[in-house]
Subunit: 478 residues, 2 copies
């Protein structure tokens, strides 16, 4: 049986195998195959009519740069209009500006685009991001947003590279979790959509429809931190880059209901210093890599959106970042009278306070450390000589304020047990406590909002313009 | 204001900055710094007592290999037992077997591990995966599962490399979606956990608690395909690697409620041949890269779990894979009488049929193409000369059967409109139809179950042992 041969297989399809990958605009601009005959496929963007020829920019999304296609007038199909998809075959030659262009021998239009028939983006027009956002399914066809998507991809690669080079192991923290974010109430709960399925799965102990499927309330994750702590206690250095969720009725330019977080956790760290080093190593090497590999496209994007020169990504590269204690930060803020909400010592910093501190630091990133314990979650470790303060850190950046939050975690079994009991989570987080019982080590970690990172890097005003399919209160299109 | 200098910053902490990254077991085994003095931190695994010394395997999770630490008897703390966390400082020397080992000058135990006090894994014992799974938070400390986690990380990197090298752009397809999987009912629905928030957000048009937050029912994604189609129509080649969800009451060894999918979509593909090439290029280059970079750990893992030699990952590397049509596959299956469920022509293949076809093909991957249209979703494109068949493909593999499904998508506006109207989704998927209206192109794509890919590669029997935090009916721990 095992060596039986399959005799009756149909022949493989006999079409020729010229995959499209061999001729993207990106490859052509990278390899500069002057004089070669190539076939390209993409969409028509800017068109310029001259006496003898028409010049069409072919955009295939592989790069922000486009390839100019020169089409003799007698070879122009009527359907070749702005926005249409087409194929051009011809020879690559260098034009007087020393740029490669394709002199077309044949043109084949696949799909026309009649702007008057409801296409939301007319040629040579720019639109407000809010208008563009109303057409999510067409938005990637704009120069601005396709550029953003490529840069988002590059940012995500740079993040993964930074961690892989330093022996961090990527963990997929779960989206579904029985952890409700310490009861803060800002979570989404899930249940099967099918009522029949719910009925089928209800049991004596779990009669609520919300509990039937998983034998308990189940939520969308707000953070993978606790799950990563499990992993750091076996693999030493771990990280995740995945979706997290917040059920908040906030429509601010800095919040989404579904957003991505870079979270990292490291064992054998028990002090703020090493935590700060790990955070600034992450942000600085990632931005450095991006500026090296994608400066062209970053410049292109920032140019289109009119990014402020004050918020310069180079500021993220220069380490070490400045450090200020929460108390000192309060001293600074107290002297100012320019705030809508005045600073109250012992309370969280408002967004305007965060942005002021960044400005005060010359628009460079700044760490705020040594927070009052009441401002940080129960699992944050107290500073040994000053029990009212904890080993917690916020990294503040231009445009967004808080980009990153981190802390050393409470690793003392008895102290954590008491804290869990105080917040009423001793039963629910028994597993979390038990991590401290066997082969216990100190761990520290941090979380960086991925979309906010893009906002800092590119000076994007609204977070909804940094993600392919933004979800926010009253909005979950597609 | 802008040039104001922050004069009152506290000095940076003055601790020395020797980050742990410089001395992981992985780095030491890679760089072989014989004769150097090093400090290592990790967990004690196997211990062997000799006359003069004790030999302890130090495991820090950075690699499946461990570093032997030699400790003179007079320097052994009583708390140094199996499972404890400790630090060892000493000189790296080569032992008679030419392996590096650390001759310890000092030992510092951080956290003890008293097996008798409830630690689930005793030294030198192996446990059934089902037992190990009951201790999810401790599971990463077993040799088997920490190895799995590292290989999962490697698989994910290899997948991203394959796509990046071929100019695919990574898109984060949304987890929250208004798309309910064509009404198949196997979806999870979400709502805010807080009843107050729900009340606050309810509106005239959306009075159900399930609709309040997002102005409509919102589900967890079952596939990013349609979202990727948007993107391929601007960026040509896109992919995603992220979580997807299925609310099915299935406890099989091949199903999870939350699982990862590799999904790719390419514009300008209108035939099965190029689709098959893209799929087999993905699986073969990914497995090739893994066998090149991680053969040691793959061998180690397969050895511990007793993987079958019949299911050899090398079979994934050799392309092209065999191809059989659905009809021919039925011919083959019809001749067999060994099935629990006999094959019925025109119906889906059962798991045992899939596995039989793979076996029949010498335990090598095999494509099944040209499916009856009723067996595939409405968006699958019909084969022009035979309207009862569609351009769809399943890739069948050892151990799991279907690893991958793909199709050419219906790109004709009028045909798709009729199909949408037939399934009652014309309103809901208006945006999806409109993709075909402007600059229309053909697209094709596929989805590979990420955990099943691990099952094929490593011969893992149960999918629950391929993911850090498995979720399945009645189980969502932590």
């Amino acid at each position: 049986m095992m060596n039986m041969k399959l005799l009756s297989l149909p022949c493989r399809y006999t079409l020729s195998r010229h995959l499209y990958s061999s001729c993207s605009v990106k490859d052509i601009l990278n390899t500069q195959p002057e004089g070669c005959k190539k076939k390209l496929k993409g969409w028509a963007k800017a068109m310029r009519k001259m006496k003898e020829n028409i010049f069409v920019d072919l955009d295939d999304g592989s790069t922000h740069r486009r390839l100019q296609v020169v089409i003799p007038k007698n070879k122009i199909p009527a359907s070749l209009t702005y926005g249409c998809s087409f194929e051009a075959e011809g020879v690559l030659v260098r034009n007087p500006n020393y740029q490669l262009e394709l002199v077309a021998e044949s043109i084949n239009v696949y799909g026309s685009c009649v702007v008057q028939d409801g296409y939301p983006f007319a040629p040579r027009k720019t639109y407000h991001p809010e208008y563009v956002r109303q057409h999510l399914h067409i938005r990637p066809r704009t120069a601005t947003f396709s550029s953003l998507l490529r840069l988002r991809d590059k940012l995500s690669s740079a993040v993964r590279n930074r961690f892989a080079e330093d022996n961090f192991i990527e963990i997929n923290a779960p989206v579904l979790s029985s952890n409700d974010c310490e009861g803060a109430g800002e979570v989404f709960a899930v249940k099967p959509d099918s009522e029949n399925l719910v009925k089928e799965m209800i049991s004596k102990d779990h009669q609520s429809p919300m509990e039937a499927f998983f034998n308990g309330q189940t939520y969308l994750t707000v953070s993978g931190q606790m799950h990563l702590e499990c992993m750091a206690r076996a693999l030493t250095k771990v990280y995740t880059l995945g979706p997290t969720f917040r059920a908040e009725n906030s429509k601010s330019r800095l919040h989404l209901s579904e957003f991505y977080m870079i979270e990292a956790e490291q064992a054998f760290i028990d002090n703020t210093e090493e935590l700060l080093s790990s955070i600034e190593k992450t942000t600085s090497t990632v931005v450095k890599q991006l500026l090296e590999k994608s400066s062209d496209e970053i410049g292109h994007y920032r140019n289109i959106i009119g990014a402020s020169k004050d918020n310069d990504p180079v500021n993220m590269v220069n380490v070490p970042y400045e450090v200020i204690s929460y108390q000192k930060a309060c001293d600074v803020l107290e002297k100012e009278n320019c705030f809508k909400n005045s600073m109250i010592r012992g309370k969280p910093l408002a967004k305007e306070h965060e942005l002021f501190l960044v400005k005060y630091n010359g628009q460079k990133p700044i760490f705020v450390v040594d927070w009052p314990k009441d401002l940080k979650p129960f699992y944050t470790k107290a500073i040994p000589n000053n029990k009212s303060l904890v080993y917690a850190v916020d990294l503040l950046c231009p445009n967004v304020g808080e980009l990153c939050g981190g802390s050393v975690r409470e690793d003392d079994y008895d102290v954590l047990k008491e804290k869990l009991s105080f917040v009423g989570l001793e039963d629910k987080l028994h597993w979390y406590l038990e991590l401290r019982k066997f082969g216990n080590v100190s761990t520290a970690g941090f979380g960086i909002g991925f979309e906010r990172f893009l906002q800092v890097l590119l000076d994007v005003q609204n977070i909804k313009d940094t993600i392919a399919f933004p979800r926010w209160p009253h909005n979950c299109k597609m």
